[in-house]
């Protein structure tokens, strides 16, 4: 007994000292500050249920890193990206970020897409005082974790609002039904914000149903929704389930369009939903159809490299890496305190997904686009067609727009004629 206790005590002390050591190593300035390569940790879902998200984002991040390195790195220092797969599971996300900040001693972390995963992993980055930029987690709570957590996308109160406005004003919908993913912070958040805005605009929520990721049958929920006879059905889920929901809604003879968010944006959505997706709408971060030269250059480069059109997640991954590089330049190095400050002060950075300014809550304030899903029966392929752009309150649309899309603000676009920076000047 005594021996066991002694052994336990020894093990505990060992662990404790190990933990302390790691804490010291991870916090404050990194040993390699000032010179040597810049190590960036990327974590995302590469093999799980939302693998398309993680893979697209990784492609965007790596493409940006390569571009930076080809141009001579950040202040002469090359960028190295360490990629970790969290399989789309929150606990694994926390584990891999622990590994990135403590073991790999990365200077900054990029990731995740799904808000639940970002929420699980963010405390690890915050604890170690390593800045983390989420490219595309839209749940507001993500950046509330701490002052080292940022994002380069808009947040769900805005995204939910955009769809509510679009439904009420553009589609003249009075009655909406909601089918949401009960276990995803992202989906629950959007449901809440959509409901609030839609009711505020005089609409009515006539049915509300939920499911969980991995469910195989949605006909029960959809039948109840059908009985409520809604004008539109808001499905703020992820593509894996949404493709099937769309499919099964058609098999029940539901004609009301489905509305969704950026969680739908994946090539796999079309494989699962096919023709049934035609006529639905989503809110998203950018449109590949945007004629602005900066976006078209990004789309062409991405297509040349990966042989597929970049979805919004790829574009946001690309932007997150570029924003980080920009902040490192302004911070004059990778000292974590200075780097954090520099990211927080990002103002009017001309990204592919629009002008990025970080507000006091460490979120980016940007417009959203609404895309219409169109199925081409002859080509057996679908695409997201640009429909409209909706701006956050207090942000005025640029004076001249060629296709109504958000033009990127100024500096980076060579032919800046069509893209005055006026809109972004009024950012919070």
């Amino acid at each position: 007994m005594k021996r066991t206790l002694l052994a336990l005590l020894l093990i505990t002390t060992l662990f404790a000292s190990f933990a302390c050591e790691r804490r010291n190593g991870g916090s404050g300035t990194n040993a390699t500050d000032g010179s040597g390569e810049i190590i960036v940790g990327y974590y995302g879902d590469l093999t799980g249920r939302t693998a398309s998200f993680g893979t697209s984002t990784k492609n965007g991040v790596e493409m940006a890193a390569d571009e930076i390195n080809k141009a001579g790195g950040v202040m002469g220092r090359p960028v190295r990206v360490i990629v970790e797969d969290d399989q789309g599971e929150p606990n694994k996300a926390a584990t891999v970020v622990s590994k990135l900040v403590n073991q790999d001693k990365v200077h900054a972390v990029l990731g995740e897409v799904a808000s639940s995963n970002s929420l699980a992993a963010a405390p690890k980055a915050q604890e170690a005082r390593v800045p983390m930029i989420s490219p595309s987690s839209t749940n507001p709570n993500v950046t509330q974790v701490g002052d080292y957590i940022f994002r380069v996308c808009f947040i769900d109160p805005f995204q939910g609002d955009v769809m509510a406005k679009f439904a009420a004003k553009n589609l003249n919908a009075k009655r909406a039904a909601i089918l949401y993913d009960f276990n995803a912070d992202y989906s629950r958040g959007l449901r809440e914000f959509f409901t609030r805005s839609f009711k505020g605009l005089g609409g009515e929520i006539v049915a509300e149903q939920s499911y969980t990721q991995g469910d195989r049958d949605f006909s029960g929920q959809l039948t109840q929704i059908r009985a409520a006879n809604p004008d539109v059905i808001y499905v703020p889920g992820y593509y894996g389930e949404v493709g099937v929901i769309s499919n099964q809604s058609k098999q029940l003879g539901i004609k009301a369009p489905l509305l969704g968010g950026d969680g739908w944006d994946s090539p796999q959505l079309w494989e699962l939903g096919g023709a049934s997706l035609d006529g639905n709408y989503i809110s998203n971060h950018y449109s590949v159809d945007d004629p602005s030269p900066a976006i078209q250059k990004f789309v062409a480069d991405y297509k040349a490299r990966y042989n597929i059109l970049p979805d919004a997640l790829a574009a946001l991954g690309y932007d997150s890496m570029k924003v980080l590089a920009d902040a490192i330049t302004r911070a004059g190095g990778t000292d974590s305190v200075k780097l954090r400050e520099a990211i927080a002060q990002t103002k009017n950075y001309a990204g592919v997904t629009g002008s990025i300014s970080i507000d006091k809550d460490r979120n980016a304030v940007k417009p959203a686009v609404v895309l219409k899903l169109v199925w081409d029966a002859a080509a057996k392929a679908g695409k997201f067609n640009y429909d409209t752009t909706i701006y956050p309150e207090g942000m005025t649309p640029p004076a001249t727009t060629s296709a109504g899309s958000p033009a990127p603000a100024g500096a980076a676009s060579p032919a800046a004629a069509t893209s005055p920076a006026s809109g972004s000047g009024t950012n919070r």
């Binding site: 590469l46 093999t47 799980g48 249920r49 693998a51 398309s52 399989q87 789309g88 009960f182 149903q209 939920s210 499911y211 969980t212 991995g214 469910d215 195989r216 049958d217 006909s219 029960g220 929920q221 039948t223 109840q224 059908r226 009985a227 894996g240 389930e241 493709g243 099937v244 499919n247 099964q248 058609k250 098999q251 029940l252 003879g253 796999q268 494989e271 699962l272 939903g273 096919g274 023709a275 049934s276 029966a377 057996k380």
Partner: protein
Amino acid sequence: MDTFVQQLINGLNVGAIYALIALGYTMVYGILRLINFAHGDVYMVGAFAGFYIALYVGFAAGPSWMALAVVLVGAMIIAALVGMVIERFAYRPVRKYSRMTTLIMAIGVSLLIENLFVAQIGATPRAFPDFLGSQSQAPYRLFGNAAISKAQIVIFLVSIALMLLLQWVVFKTKVGTAMRAVSFNLNSAKLMGINTDAIISLTFAIGSALAAAGGVLTAQYNPNIDPLMGILTGLKAFVAAVLGGIGNIPGAVLGGLLIGAAETFVVGYGQHIGIASTYRDAVAFAILILVLLLRPSGLLGSTVQEKV
């Protein structure tokens, strides 16, 4: 009313798949007194077998009865082989030990299959090709709003046909007689000159083929397939087998249909009595607990004569 009928159709549709899988559980239990926990994974293997056959033969999505038939039969054959291999190399060597050993082996095989698939192809969902054209086709209207889709009709018809076929094999053929003899008493059957190993192997083959049919059929209604899809579905089918009376073939079908209907009605009407649709999965297991407490032999009893 039309909503009620619609929910019933939805529920029986889900239930038919559970029933197909539950048959495998119940047949194996009838013969070996073994809960084959790897059975849910055989269902998954069946769905993937269908997926890869379609991929390699080059069947693109699009309405084609031919493609569906080839994929269905091919997947059933592959799954039958997988079932026989599992039996031969995992269960037969430990059959002489206690039943607990076999049970633990079954859990091990289940985890092995799942993780092999995850390691080999990742947990990413795949899209099963739509051979019925149901993505773009409106359902057949019955009355009011109640409608039935092509996929649902196919699921009903194929599963009923397979169940009748199984009933015929078990009761009208020599092999079926041997299976029933083995389930009565394995040693006596052996003494009567029945090749019990072959019969057990065949039982696994039939059960696995039925599960694979369930996998391919369900993929026509929900094209999203992934390596972990068999876990929950398999467990619910197991509950269905227990509910009907494990070891009892009609019981498995009844149990499957009841579980499917119960789930769907919880989604549809649970809200009125304060049960959210997210409680759907809990319902099957609540039923399991109730059955074990109140009627451990199941609705139709697990010791009736026609068990297999």
